[in-house]
């Protein structure tokens, strides 16, 4: 059985990472379908604000919770033994739910959610995406509704933010540090110099009134933020389990994309996260065997357009043929660099794209062949 198939059948989380435009979403979708085919309850979750995954799976945007993909998709993919839900992360919704869940009473939750600073922060995409992704993942891994979560991430650099997020939070909510940003009386027992410096700098930067409001906000959300940080750290720890989690680096044969993939792989390993292997998309090293176009293919009485067209097609064919060798060498190199136990798999360019369910089923099959 292929290594990737084992992962799809036994893992709890597969994270797809890579540069932009390399086919991450297509790969993630294919893996999700493959999971459902093997009878598992799968959630395809995207934290990339470009929204492609849900759309590809025929699920509406802006949903409040994961939605099942159309049954006809599962039938077409011969995946009715399992189930498949898809969801695009909605940072504001996740933030609101966390406040509901972590507040002692509904009244407290309502008061917190009405906080002006909270309302603005929650609808801010920049930065919120990463934190709420961890919280959402925490929820999905805890509640047991899914056997396998396939996570589609934003392009590499931004994907790192999501992995670094928990540590950033932890360092800020470190008791001594955070106290310095709370309203006056709480800070009074700490080193006066530090608290004085922060107060003067922050007031200068934000203006007195805004800084006061920010302090009040920190004060009101202290408990919630501690809880969120705890959840994020716990999820982060779960993600480091090589038995149940794999980070797959998706790439194309383009040099920039490859460089990104190698870089990200090291970053993943530096962070103590399990590297699962490479998926090389749009590779001429995979797919059906091809032949050079030839006069014999034209039949007995070819038209003038067929003859002149064939000459032009042959020039294109030679270009493609030369690229096949390059792509084969590339796959061999990736296999070696991935090392034993990791995946190195090439997927062809699907000529008609993989935008419809037929294409995606092909992807699912190729991934787990």
């Amino acid at each position: 059985m292929s290594r990737l198939r084992e992962m799809v059948e036994s893992h709890r989380v597969i994270v797809c990472c890579g540069a932009g435009g390399v086919g991450k979403t297509t790969t993630a979708t294919g893996l999700a379908l493959a999971g459902a085919r093997s009878g598992r309850r799968v959630l395809a979750l995207t934290i990339d604000p470009s929204k492609r995954l849900a759309q590809t799976l025929g699920v509406a945007r802006n949903l409040k919770e994961p939605a099942p993909v159309p049954h006809s998709f599962l039938v077409a993919a011969e995946a009715t033994a399992g189930s498949l839900h898809a969801w695009m992360l909605d940072p504001q919704l996740v933030a609101d739910r966390s406040v509901d869940k972590l507040s002692p009473t509904p009244a407290v939750a309502a008061r917190l959610k009405a906080n002006r600073m909270y309302k603005q922060l929650a609808r801010m995409v920049a930065g919120m995406q990463e934190y709420t992704a961890m919280e959402a993942l925490h929820g999905f891994l805890d509640d047991g509704a899914y056997d396998l979560v396939i996570l589609d991430t934003p392009p590499s650099r931004n994907a790192l933010d999501f992995l670094d997020g928990p540590r950033r939070l932890e360092r800020f909510f470190d008791g001594r540090i955070f106290q310095l940003f709370l309203p006056g009386e709480k800070a009074s027992f700490i080193g006066r110099a530090a608290s004085n410096l922060i107060h003067r700098a922050m007031s200068g930067v934000f203006g007195e009134a805004t800084y006061l409001e920010l302090q009040e906000f920190f004060g009101a959300f202290e408990n919630i933020m501690y809880a969120l940080t705890r959840n994020a750290l716990r999820t982060r720890e779960k993600l480091s389990d090589a038995e149940t989690v794999a980070f797959l680096l998706v790439t194309s044969p383009a040099p920039e994309a490859l460089e990104d993939a190698h870089l990200f792989r090291h970053k993943v390993e530096d962070l103590g996260l399990p590297f699962g292997g490479f998926v090389l998309n749009r590779s001429l090293a995979a797919g059906v065997a091809r032949v050079m176009p030839d006069r014999s293919m034209l039949g007995d009485a070819p038209t003038a357009a067929e003859i002149s067209g064939l000459a032009k097609l042959r020039r294109l064919a030679e270009l493609e043929w030369a690229a096949v060798d390059e792509d084969r060498a590339l796959l061999a190199e990736l296999t070696e660099r991935a090392g034993p136990g990791a995946v190195a798999l090439a997927l062809p360019t699907f000529p008609d794209g993989a935008h419809d369910i037929g294409g995606l089923v092909q992807v699912a099959r190729s991934l787990t062949a």
Binding site: G21, Q120, A126, Y131, F172, V205, D260, H355
Partner: protein, 291 residues
């Protein structure tokens, strides 16, 4: 410079930088990152591993630098805090540093301010005629362009609001600034670039133009193309990928024209070159055309 990942945004940024310099303009190419970042595709096009925080000349007449959040924070503190020593002390404070990297959007505010300092006139003179910023991919680019309005609602008065208004005066005014959307002649990238243009309009960033990269040469007559498509459906031949690609490219450009009739797309041909040679080829092609 905005667009989906993998469409050649960095390459077009570099090429426009080179083309601008050739036309006698003082150009700056920039990207968001860290000064000694591990790997930058944009810097690579100028034969470097990365860009520094202080602009340096990376090609004739072209400077390069990163927009670095921490530098933005520092410059902003020096600008608004009455005593320079206070700003210095604040930047050294571990507590402040941890807060600035943890609170959502403070990072982006730093980047934004750093950009503003490069746009602003110094001693009555603009440091650059043109700054080309290689933005992150679509979703994150829109998060950035949407930030000022959200922040201004959050803090309508105070030093930060003042800086953002100053920035908006440049970036939201088509006389000074605008977004160039880069895309490929394929269905998905074109669809996404139309969405991106819509998103940019919503965040009040003027769309200055659209560049379609990697237009494949297509020498087939309609009749020849049809015959060869039919052949390639009967027999799995090499060349089909490029044959289909050239045909879909025409449709994709049509879709783009229909979806965004107000902008006339600039078409950039596909070149076989890579790296700096590719940059030069594209720059020459841009300089030769209406662009």
């Amino acid at each position: 410079m905005a667009g989906k990942g993998g469409v050649g945004r960095s390459t077009l940024t570099a090429a426009l930088g080179v083309a601008g310099a050739a036309a006698g303009k003082r150009m700056l190419v920039a990207e968001i990152g860290e000064p000694d970042g591990p790997y930058s595709p944009l810097a690579r096009l100028f034969g470097r591993d990365n860009f520094p925080v202080e602009p340096v000349e990376v090609a004739d007449g072209v400077d390069g630098c990163v927009l670095y959040a921490r530098r933005g924070h520092q410059l902003f503190m020096e600008y608004v805090l009455p005593v320079r020593a206070l700003a210095m002390a604040a930047m050294r404070s571990k507590a402040l540093e941890r807060m600035l990297v943890a609170v959502p959007s403070f990072h982006e505010m730093g980047v934004y301010y750093h950009l503003l300092t490069l746009i602003r006139e110094v001693d009555g003179r603009r440091p650059y005629d043109c700054i080309l910023l290689d933005m992150p991919a679509t979703g994150h680019a829109l998060a950035l362009t949407g930030l000022p309005d959200v922040l201004l609602e959050l803090m309508p008065v105070g030093p930060i609001a003042k800086a953002f208004r100053e920035g908006q005066a440049y970036l939201n005014d088509p006389v000074y600034g605008g977004a160039l959307v880069v895309t490929l002649p394929e269905e998905l990238p074109v669809t996404e670039s139309l969405e991106l243009m819509e998103g940019l309009r919503e965040t009040r960033v003027p769309v200055a133009g659209v560049i379609v990269n990697k237009i494949m040469g297509d020498e087939f007559t309609d009749e020849e193309r049809e015959a060869m498509l039919a052949l390639s459906e009967r027999v799995p031949v090499y060349g089909r990928g490029r044959l289909v690609g050239a045909a879909t490219a025409r449709d994709a450009v049509e879709t783009l024209r229909r979806g965004a009739p107000q902008v006339d797309p600039v078409l950039v041909p596909e070149f076989a070159t890579r790296g700096a040679a590719l940059t030069a080829d594209i720059a020459a092609s841009l300089a030769g055309g209406k662009a």
